[in-house]
Symmetry: C2
Subunit: 422 residues, 2 copies
Amino acid sequence: MPVIVQKFGGSSISDAPRIRRAAQRVADARACGFDVVVVASAMGKTTDELIALAEQVSPLPDRRELDMLLATGEQVTVGLLAMALRELGCPASSLTGGQAGLRTDGVHGRARITRIECGRLERLLSRGEIPVVAGFQGTSDDGEITTLGRGGSDTTAVAIAAALRVTEAGGYCEIFTDVDGVYTADPRLVRSAVKLPRISYEEMLELATLGAGVMHARAVLFGEKYGVPIHVRHSQKPDQGTMISRENPNMEELAVVGCALKEELGRVSIRQIKNTVGLQGKLFTALASANIVVDDIMQTEQGSATMIAFTVEHADLADAKQIVTKTLVELNEGEMSIDVGLAKVSVVGVGMRMHAGVASRMFRALGEVGITIHNITTSEIKISCIIDTASGQRALESVHSAFGLGLGSNATIAMQIDSSRV
Amino acid sequence: MPVIVQKFGGSSISDAPRIRRAAQRVADARACGFDVVVVASAMGKTTDELIALAEQVSPLPDRRELDMLLATGEQVTVGLLAMALRELGCPASSLTGGQAGLRTDGVHGRARITRIECGRLERLLSRGEIPVVAGFQGTSDDGEITTLGRGGSDTTAVAIAAALRVTEAGGYCEIFTDVDGVYTADPRLVRSAVKLPRISYEEMLELATLGAGVMHARAVLFGEKYGVPIHVRHSQKPDQGTMISRENPNMEELAVVGCALKEELGRVSIRQIKNTVGLQGKLFTALASANIVVDDIMQTEQGSATMIAFTVEHADLADAKQIVTKTLVELNEGEMSIDVGLAKVSVVGVGMRMHAGVASRMFRALGEVGITIHNITTSEIKISCIIDTASGQRALESVHSAFGLGLGSNATIAMQIDSSRV
């Protein structure tokens, strides 16, 4: 029988009634002829509460001990979910990450999965039982409890689906969350946004890093690597969600499948600096060492001088400023300026490779509503414009409408694309 | 260096400040030249809260899954305690019961310890680290998480002390709790009660089962079996508590070391029944099958008829009545009557074996304050009288005073004993 790996996130199992409802979803999948492996996160805000408790005891808690603490969150949920499943007459056994065979390296707090020893999962499935696996955690080769970091439960689910080779028999991975699926834009910002029935891994990756927030990029990457289809759907609604899978020919009919907005960005611009070999390496290594996540990097040349600009989240701006200042002092050249209150609006679509005119259409849409574009970055399947945060929502709505992503219109957009891309 | 196993109960680690204080107690013991192994219970009422949560999901939660759930309680505490210890500069590593080598049978919810594989504990100690072990839990030989049932954390601590042979180098077990130690009577009921500096395992066992509530009988039995001295003391006060150890000659100077009161008892009396072979077995097997804990059993004969009476806690009385009624119907003889509102007052002391007149002194003390004795049961080191609950506290005070157990007087009581025991 095909196997579905069903993963329930924190908000979908935040109390006893929701846990019972989650168990019912599992029972329903079995009734449809699937074998099921369940992966669960910690209930509601449990992980945040445990971290707060740890910080009351130790301002910088030891990483190993924090893993010991945090791993309990998922262990509670799997015990309860297995009880709820048995209550529905479904034989179920909860497993810690370690018991499920999830082996990781020994980097506490952000361990990487090294392999999954599937023996126990396969034995349970062959006996008709439902393994209920604690997400987000594993054990290292010397038996230490580790956690995978944020997004770890999604990754656990996709990794188990890959290890069990569920796709060979028509199985896939199903992520139950608190959104309906992946939309053409954030429906809280753009009223006419519509749910996408399918999206490619690459598109989802661009949207995930752009702050669409539906799924963690790490799990999508895992899905792409092992070709595991991922169905993202709402835990409290019966509707189909969005299937993330390899791109197929039909997908390319659409040049753009969605757009996204990332707010609260700051920009650091460096001018009057010679483009010597190693300049960029020196600068961004210093930033990375301070754990500053750089959003986009833009570089242009003007005569003999180079201009480098990059964006970071507001929270990191003060640190970034300090590091760049120090680096420029060491280099004894360059001028730095800082801008705040920026946002990034992006359009994403694998079809962009095959269709021209996507960028110009986007720029025109922003110009028509009077929005100044401060910077542009592009990838194979994404175009991003840095604009003022104050114009963010208006920009998103305008771009969404320009690509015909709105309700009832997205069947026709492939035909509306202009003839040149830039 | 001698090793102390220090166990912290739920009330002594119920929040972050208390966890930090517990860590300080451990650091203090190290400063005094001891190596320390820490055993911890779940924080405060965590176990009860987890059981309540389970019952919201499943009225009769599966035992295996309940163990998966409950084991998280201690795991949270050991993570936090190890963090707090590191914060004080003490190298510490938390361990689940399984990681600490605690192996049990597979009876979920009330597993028995089969052995302790001490390798990891010994390695940590030899490196100067403090192992912080989750009490109450272990793993079965096939890697399943098990719990030891109530009193399990005390038992874990004593069992680890026994397995590490800590007594050979002058070590012992220390139980931090919310009482000062073992008193001559419950100090909430008898104002003049004094703390005992030492008590024998046997005396403590009688007091534990009599509801003195300081320590679980199972841990005391373990201590007795392996000769591990157990120091019971208050977690928030520096004072010495009570040392539970093998009786020594000095102990026998005291005929009675303490007295106790157990309230809320009911009595089932069966009359007019033939004392046939197997009668008692049939009756009490039926009660045990229904998980009814029988307190005391009394049997007397009157001509050809037998009278059997037993006491149970009020909560079990309705079930006991039903089972006895059914049994008498099957036997087609006997009459049953029920009494409620009873209590049991007891005196305990290993010295009783060597001193006569203990029983008569007790009966006289009760008679002098006008209390009717409904039943009497005795053991080698204990005498109990069943009385009306309404007279309970008066009976306890009267007996406590009769044996000179009060403040400033217990040095002389051995001399005050009458010449005949009954």
